[in-house]
């Protein structure tokens, strides 16, 4: 190197001979390093993102059991199903129950409710004729005033993405399932460094022999890495990347962290458009039971389908799934995870997969949607992230099931394009008990209960009558309204000649009958008389949004509302004029139980109780003798309810809204493309409402009149004061001091007995 005799050129070349490859190597190393560095970044971001997003857990309301509670065995079973209680004779442990005729033995789990912990208890519940008649401690037989179950977990809220998961910690994973998983998917998991050449070779050989992919050569770590990508591309480049990322992952994280993420991340099934990831959710989806309650053969099936969730889909390809499951059981026996007898017993078992429709029953996407929107008012998406918040909602699983079943059954007989939505609420507290967003309730899609903005038709009429009855000196239930042809000229010069639904005109009708029979023409006259603004004000007072512009057609429901807004309006009617905002959330706590937010009951008197009472009386008449009377073909005659049908032009929308004492329901039936359904409120929505009420058995309306209501006999034709026993006499409630003074001929003969108790009035309408 030091010789000057050599010419400089070759020397330079020799230097180049070393320098170029060296530079190449350096560049390659730098490139590799930066590639690895970038991969490492992806690995970390993806892994942390998957791992540390602790979701908020959402709970249904717990079931409060007390003597007198209206619940039948079906409803109780729905509640316990949501709670994932198992039926075991004697209910020996928490989370089990047993039924013997009218007696139900429940072993509740201890549970940290937001307002205090409840201890596990074994209780005996006797149900007779849809009501709890006896509640006793199962061990000492002592009568109980009240018992409370744990709260069913109904879902999770994940910031950032909408996939549902049931996250499990490693220590919540059944050890046998974990061992089987490793034995079948990656037997060297505990020793390899991310990739396993031995298993890759073994898999390649097996696949060659079978001439198709029977064995995946990927380690669990590699499979996890594969999940970081959205596509399932199969190129060599991708394989190399994945292998590198698997090695990086193993260097960064412990085996425990990797397997814990895997069990929550692995793709196991598809439910319509919803991908089922993780063992927790898959267990619920396939077996309707929590993972820790699965027998060996179910655990084996979960491990079996990892290899090809679509190919081994146990609902679509039960034979394949069964064969693969039994292969897994064989491997488990070979690896001494099971003794031979247990393996043989498990092999003899059927797959035990529940139907997909039943699995979807556990999903309440429409209600969850409402919860998320309610929470969005107080929390940013980030607040819900990473905290592991516990969200206690108002969902009543038995009410949700009743509404879903009623809609599913009613629409099964109808054309496929027909849709429906329902909202159930407890009017007194404003708690939303159930939300159904479409004919496939388990399917998250367009949430019609919250988003289908449709003309409400006659559902608006109670607001018109309320606005009128607020002026008791001018309007009473016995006021005569004019039901003669009407011609209205709009400012634009267009002429509107509204008609009644049956296209008949009746001359003079009592105000109560115009409401009960939902007559358009007298309602429009009445609304024009008191003014559109007064009606819009009543609508606002009831809690629904007002329209931007008011037209006379608003009086018969051209204004559009979504079902939950209708529910809010009727909530205010159902509580005698006390507006109580509908709520879906009771409280939010941190994971450790520290209370973050409570949503207390709040109420505001929006109307004079007497006026609202008269409207409810009119809506009771609608049910007993008006447009809703078909309800009593199915409802018990003593179940006094108030309600209103609604039908829009060309029968595009079929509505029903109504309430008993402690249950309010709004049902909409229509089509997403807004075409005709051929159904009226009475033929479309009403039967669904009736079926829901029939199952849930609300308490009948009490209709105690406020202090300033009196009931008097009037003449049904003239509206004049009459008396009991007179021909055409009717008993109607009036705001005190506003009953008619002028007496009919018969009425003036019998001065006495004109005032009657309310119960007599009720008997009158059920004559």
């Amino acid at each position: 190197m030091t010789s000057n005799a050599k010419p400089p050129r070759p020397q330079r070349r020799r230097w180049l001979l070393i320098a170029v490859p060296a530079a190449c190597v350096i560049v390659a190393i730098v490139a590799l390093a930066s590639w690895l560095w970038s991969l490492d970044g992806i690995v970390r971001a993806q892994f942390e993102g998957k791992r540390w997003a602790v979701p908020a857990t959402v709970y249904a309301r717990p079931l409060e059991l007390y003597p007198g509670l209206a619940i039948d065995s079906v409803g109780l079973a729905e509640e316990l199903r949501a709670l994932e209680y198992r039926q075991v004779p004697l209910a020996p442990e928490p989370g089990t129950w047993h039924r013997q005729g009218a007696l139900h033995l429940l072993h509740t789990r201890s549970f940290p409710h937001w307002e205090g912990a409840e201890r596990s208890a074994r209780i005996r519940v006797r149900i007779d004729d849809g009501r709890i008649t006896q509640l006793t401690g199962a061990d000492d037989g002592a009568p109980l005033a009240l018992a409370r179950t744990d709260a069913a977990r109904i879902g999770h809220i994940y910031p950032g993405h909408t996939e549902d998961r049931l996250l499990l910690r490693l220590d919540e994973m059944p050890p046998l399932l974990l061992a089987a998983l490793i034995a079948v998917e990656d037997s060297e998991f505990l020793s390899h460094g991310g990739v396993s050449f031995a298993s890759t070779v073994r898999a390649a050989r097996a696949n060659l022999r079978a001439r198709r992919v029977v064995q995946g050569g990927s380690t669990i770590t590699q499979q996890l890495v594969k999940n970081f990508y959205l596509t399932d591309e199969r190129t060599l480049r991708r394989k190399v990347r994945e292998a590198a990322m698997a090695i990086l992952l193993e260097r960064r994280y412990s085996k425990n962290e990797i397997i814990e993420t895997y069990i929550n991340e692995v793709y196991l099934a598809q439910d319509l458009e919803r991908a089922i990831h993780g063992f927790g959710l898959a267990s619920q989806h396939l077996f309707g039971a929590p993972l820790d309650q699965l027998p060996v053969e179910h655990q084996a099936l979960l491990v079996a389908i990892i290899n090809g969730p679509s190919f081994y889909n146990p609902r679509r390809h039960p034979e394949r799934a069964l064969a693969r499951r039994n292969l897994v059981l064989q491997i488990m026996a070979d690896e001494l995870l099971l003794d031979a007898a247990a393996a043989a017993r498990a092999r003899a078992q059927p797959l035990g997969v529940i139907p997909a429709a039943e699995a979807r029953r556990r999903q309440h996407p429409a209600f969850m949607d409402l919860v998320q929107r309610d929470l969005a008012r107080d929390y940013s998406p980030d607040d819900l992230q990473g905290e592991g918040l516990r969200i206690f909602t108002t969902l009543a699983p038995s009410a949700q099931a009743a509404a879903e079943d009623a809609i599913t059954a009613a629409l099964a007989a109808q054309a496929p394009g027909l849709q429906a939505a329902a909202v159930l609420a407890d009017p007194s507290s404003g708690e939303v008990l159930a939300v159904v967003g479409g004919r496939e309730p388990g399917f998250a899609g367009f949430n019609r209960a919250l988003d289908a903005r449709r003309p409400v038709g006659s559902l608006i009429k109670p607001a018109v009558y309320l606005a009128a009855l607020q002026q008791p000196a001018r309007f009473t239930l016995g006021t005569l309204l004019d039901d003669a042809p009407l011609r209205l000229e709009e400012r634009s010069g267009r002429v509107w000649e509204p008609r009644n639904f049956d296209r008949l005109f009746r001359g003079d009708v009592l105000l109560v009958d115009a409401l009960a029979h939902s007559l358009n023409v007298p309602t429009i006259r009445l609304g024009m008389d008191i003014g559109l603004d007064a009606v819009a004000q009543a609508v606002a007072g009831l809690g629904a949004p007002q329209p931007a512009q008011l037209f006379p057609s608003y009086l018969i429901g051209s204004g559009e509302l979504v079902p939950i807004e209708v529910a809010q309006m009727y909530q205010t009617l159902a509580t005698g004029g006390f507006h109580t905002p509908l709520r879906a959330v009771r409280a939010v706590t941190l994971q450790d139980g520290t209370r973050v937010t409570r949503y207390p009951l709040s109420t505001t008197q929006a109307f004079d109780p007497a006026a609202v009472h008269l409207v409810t009386a009119g809506l009771v008449s609608a049910m007993s003798e008006g447009t809703g009377r078909a309800a009593y073909a199915r409802l018990p005659a003593d179940l006094l309810v108030a309600g209103k049908t609604g039908t829009t032009d060309d029968t595009r929308d079929s509505w029903f809204a109504g309430y008993g004492e402690n249950l309010l329901g709004v049902v909409w039936v229509g089509r997403d493309d807004n075409t005709s359904t051929g159904l009226t409120g009475a033929t479309g929505a009403l039967p669904i409402w009736v079926e829901t009420m029939r199952r849930l058995r609300p308490r009948p309306l009490m209709l105690d009149p406020p202090g300033d209501i009196e009931t008097v006999w009037i003449d049904a034709v003239t509206g004049q004061r009459s008396a009991e026993g007179c021909e055409g006499a009717r008993l109607l409630p009036y705001a005190r001091g506003h009953a008619p003074e002028t007496r009919s001929e018969c009425g003036s003969l019998s001065e006495n007995g004109t005032r009657r108790s309310l119960s007599e009035w009720l008997q009158g309408i059920f004559r």
Partner: protein, 179 residues
Amino acid sequence: MNPIMTREPTLAARRRCAGLAMALLVLLTAGCAAAPSPATTPSSTTQTSTPPSAQPPAAPPSPRPETPAASPAVTALSEQAAVASAAGDHDGAATLLERALRVEPRNAELWHALAMTRLQTDDAQQAEQLALRSNGLAGDRAELRRRNWLLIAEARSRRGDAAGSQLAREQALNIDAGR
């Protein structure tokens, strides 16, 4: 929805609540007297004469002769609410009363007791509304209606509505004690 963010009440706030509760107790006791005259009805001086180390606040009312018998579930919950209230946990009491109201939504005594908890947690607006709701369900129970009107009078006076408070007090006095 109207969230209540939970926070630790300050000592001063607790004292104020206790003081207020005591004043209410006095007020209600006066309201329950057979024939209250204007002279014996305490004025709306809520925070003056009561020492800070006051007795436990007024518990939700115990059943009275004119009150229809509540179910065992409601009785159990209202008793717990009374205990919570006595310990100064008015929000806890409200929670229990809301549970009881889900069992018996037309129980006017429960609405009254809930109104009381709102007054004690400085929510005079809701206290008044809940008392109005209690009145709507009270029927001809004169004694309960009088207590509601006195509570409303107190709530209005706390919101600085002296005239409204006076009107409510007159309503209370006008209720025929014999009914």
